[in-house]
């Protein structure tokens, strides 16, 4: 009930391409869906987040698409750059300050 399933585990994309990472959840009480970005040797940092009252949120090259009926959400990185190479985690929680349930992570590598 608390799981967040993330795929793929690793992803290689050419520079300039679109990177897509998918997540699915089971708990219908979740109402906050963030994506965290983590560089090697660093802690995760919030990249972008969405609430279920909208189906899409865009910030620069990063877009979250959210499908409430399917209980799925995804991160799209447009015009992927080598600096985007990092591990990305989706997560979900049921309110401000509530515990985050994380996906297992996607290691993204952008090749020239």
């Amino acid at each position: 009930q608390q799981q967040v399933k993330q795929s793929p585990q690793s992803l290689i994309v050419q520079k300039g391409g679109i990177s897509i990472i998918n997540c699915a959840y089971e708990n219908t009480a979740f109402d906050y869906f963030p994506w965290y970005q983590q560089f090697p040797g660093k802690g995760p940092a919030l990249l972008i987040a969405i609430r279920p009252d909208v189906s899409e949120k865009k910030e620069g090259r990063f877009t979250i698409s959210f499908n409430k009926s399917a209980k799925q959400f995804s991160l799209h990185i447009m015009d992927s750059q080598p600096g985007d190479s990092a591990t990305y985690f989706c997560a979900a929680s049921s309110g401000p300050g509530e515990k985050l349930t994380f996906g297992t992570g996607t290691r993204l590598t952008i090749i020239p």
Binding site: G43, P44, L46, F89, G97, L100
Partner: protein, 114 residues
């Protein structure tokens, strides 16, 4: 404003030893969390605290203890270290204001138990 700081950065423990991982935040956040990160497993919540004097177990609390005597500090204690506790440990904090969802993470402590 340093955010969330953690010490030490690295530590090697022998089986059965004990240690305390330190975590301090200077953002006046009420909520604090401890996670462990293992390869391919994401982040698992160990303990969390909603304010000074209040702590609760997360998903994987066995072998750990916490205390929260001040708003700023949230130390994690490992008693009788085991190889299964080899991991990277992250402390995080968040505020409780309206719409305040973001958790801010520290740089992590890499612990090896041999």
């Amino acid at each position: 404003n340093a955010g969330v700081t953690q010490t030490p950065k690295f530590r090697i423990l022998k089986i059965g030893q004990s240690m305390t991982l330190q975590c301090t935040q200077d953002m006046n956040h009420n909520y604090m969390y401890w996670y462990r990160q293992d390869p391919g497993m994401g982040l698992k919540l160990i303990y969390y605290s909603v304010g000074a004097g209040i702590t609760d177990k997360g998903e994987v609390p066995n072998g750990y203890n916490v205390s929260r005597s001040t708003t700023e500090d949230f130390p994690l204690r490992l008693e009788l270290a085991a190889p299964s506790q080899t991991s990277v440990y992250f402390c995080a904090s968040s505020s409780t204001g309206t719409g305040a969802f973001e958790q801010y993470f520290g740089p992590g402590t890499r612990l090896t138990v041999t």
